[in-house]
């Protein structure tokens, strides 16, 4: 290729696949099929959530059971902001970013000082506090029933037309994906991967693991919260379910399905997860049975996720391998 070396380093299979996927998403509305648009929006939102999650899990090697907290913080801050302060979805979504940043730092200060096992337990505990607060502080959060009426049409932007909303989400999706790709290619990307590979060694190279973990948690938390805030605008309803730990475990499952050691693994996982749950839910009654069987099959036979499986078929697939995660 006739590219300057600096640029050539930036180009690999991931970015090509990503750009093709974004291009594909951009033409979906042309089909005029609203259900596919709906599924695509879900894939984008959960794709962001899972990719954000995997910064912590796949890169930095930290297992969080509390990512529902960040998603929920995003969703509730956009809800509370648009309903009480300024009625505009775009401003609301942007407002959720500083809130998520503060939350991430607070969570980091509380959880990152101890080991990995304690991180998993502490994030779970914090997210359960947040969840129970959402359930119990009814006068602010609406309790179990949540908050309704989050506007799609606001003072500044009007997203009420499905296609407009679709492209609104797509812009955020593309920006976040490209941002994460740039991070992946930057020195911080390398450091975060090193953190996951051998965190004990890094201090002796002059790096503070606490700072690096904090960076990973902040990026992860903000991206997850952004996904949550878009989700809230999408449904115009938000309930405490999004902060429950089972919801927070979904991006983990997605990352593993796609392959948590691959840059695009979580996105592929989100794609599969959303499609699979849509498909098996048609069997109305017993879709949970099928989901359980699928999970079991994955654990027993496809542990590298789909991308790992593909790589074992087609050796040397240059998708950027990270380490496999270990407790």
């Amino acid at each position: 290729m006739f590219l300057p070396p600096r640029l050539r380093v930036l180009i690999d299979g991931n970015i090509i696949a990503l750009l093709l996927f974004i291009g594909f998403l951009a033409v979906i509305p042309l089909s005029g099929h609203r259900f596919y648009m709906y599924i695509a929006v879900l894939i984008m939102i959960f794709g962001m959530f899972a990719m954000g999650y995997n910064i912590l899990f796949g890169y930095a090697g930290l297992l969080s059971f509390g990512h529902g907290l960040f998603f929920g913080v995003g969703a509730y801050s956009v809800a509370l902001f648009t309903l009480n302060v300024y009625r505009d979805p775009l401003v609301g979504v942007l407002f959720s970013i500083p809130i998520a940043l503060l939350t991430s730092i607070l969570v980091g200060v509380l959880t990152l000082k101890h080991g990995k096992v304690y991180f998993a337990i502490l994030t779970l505990a914090l997210s359960m506090i947040f969840w129970s607060a959402l359930v119990k502080l009814r006068w602010i959060t609406g309790g179990t029933d949540g908050l309704t009426g989050i506007p799609k049409r606001g003072v500044l932007v009007d997203l009420s037309a499905p296609t407009t909303f679709y492209y609104f989400i797509l812009v955020f999706f593309a920006a976040i994906m490209l941002g994460l790709y740039a991070l992946n290619k930057s020195r911080y990307g390398l450091l975060l991967r090193a953190l996951g590979a051998n965190e004990d060694r890094l201090p002796f190279l002059g790096y503070s693991t606490f700072t690096l973990r904090m960076i990973a948690l902040t990026v992860s938390g903000v991206v997850s919260a952004l996904a949550g805030s878009l989700y809230a605008v999408f449904y115009s309803v938000v309930t405490p379910d999004v902060a429950y730990w089972t919801f927070g475990a979904e991006p983990l499952v997605m990352s593993l399905i796609g392959g948590s050691s691959y840059f695009l693994g979580p996105l592929v996982g989100a794609l599969i997860f959303v499609s699979l749950t849509t498909a098996v839910a048609r069997f109305a009654e017993y879709w949970m049975l099928l989901l359980g069987a699928a999970l079991l099959a994955m654990v027993l036979f496809f542990r590298g996720g789909l991308l790992g499986f593909l790589e074992s078929l087609v050796g040397g697939l240059k998708l950027g391998v990270y380490r496999r995660w270990r407790f």
């Binding site: 337990i121 129970s132 607060a133 983990l252 049975l289 654990v299």
Partner: protein, 287 residues
């Protein structure tokens, strides 16, 4: 100030705590020895309930049904250990979680196929129908039975672990599986045994509660969260700690219901989180 209501709340809390304890004991044994966090524990619990219901409807005998529920649930646990769980021992924890979570989903649906979607329960045994009245609240004999059973189970577990060869073997594997294997302990067999004990305990818990709690598919999903919190707050690996914390959580949450009903679970989770922030290894755990 009349303290009777608090006493009453404490007593009902004692009963709830004993229930948590039976669940937590199975969890902690399996986690400690087999080193698998068993997400399907709640599914075994409900299975125990259903088996109890079926046997009681056929035999009408409470004791026989209880034993059958324990043994059959344990047997199911062993069957699962041999076919699936054994294959995930060597894997990263996260895959173990997913595997047991998958099993839980399958089990919930299977229960729906076998026992239907309706609510089932059995009556409280005739001899235990009465109760002791404390400040206008009747502490049912059956609830007392569960408190006593929980305490006896605690004593029995401690005695078993400290005074029998099998108990010693289990403790050895708990401490150091590699060293135990080197010393000639059959760890594989120990794992299966512990899985049997753990799931049989879940079955016992499920069976014991059918006279008081109504059973439906996927019932214990909520109960299990509390049991997990107890195990973590107590510290992974402390049996005595798990008993104490179970009882404390039962009593404390019960008193919260009386005093600040608006915020009961928030306060409970806050305290759990605070404990973990300052002692991440749990109250009784070793770092």
């Amino acid at each position: 100030m009349d303290l009777t209501p608090f006493l009453v709340q404490a007593l009902t809390g004692l009963y709830k705590g004993s229930l948590y304890w039976i669940l937590a004991l199975g969890l902690i044994l399996i986690f400690g020895v087999v080193r698998v966090i068993n997400f399907a524990h709640a599914a075994f619990y409900v299975t125990g309930s259903y088996i109890m219901y079926t046997f009681y409807n056929h035999t009408g005998n409470f004791i026989i049904s209880l034993i059958m529920a324990m043994v059959l649930t344990g047997a199911l646990g062993v069957a699962l250990e041999v076919t699936v769980i054994r294959r995930v021992y060597k894997l990263e924890t996260i895959y173990q979680l997913l595997a047991t979570f998958g099993i839980a989903l399958i089990a919930n649906e299977a229960q729906k196929l076998i026992w239907g979607k309706g609510v089932v329960y059995i009556p409280i045994p005739e001899t235990l129908k009465g109760g002791v009245s404390v400040g206008g609240v009747i502490l049912n004999h059956y609830m007392t039975l569960i408190i006593v059973a929980g305490f006896l189970l605690f004593i029995a577990t401690i005695l078993f672990m400290n005074n029998t060869v099998t108990g010693l073997r289990i403790r050895a594997v708990w401490r150091d599986p590699v060293m135990s294997e080197a010393l000639g302990i059959n760890t594989k067999l120990t794992y299966t045994l512990v899985f049997f004990i753990g799931t049989a305990l879940a079955g016992l818990g499920g069976a014991l509660t059918v006279p008081l709690i109504s059973v439906g598919p996927g019932l214990a999903d909520y109960l299990i969260v509390t049991a997990f919190i107890i195990v973590v707050v107590a510290g992974l690996g402390s049996i005595t700690g798990a008993y104490i914390v179970s009882i404390l959580v039962g009593v404390f949450s019960s008193i919260l219901v009386l005093t600040i009903p608006e915020l009961d679970i928030v306060v409970l989770y806050m305290i759990a989180a605070l404990i973990l922030l300052f002692r991440p290894q749990g109250l009784f755990g070793e770092r």
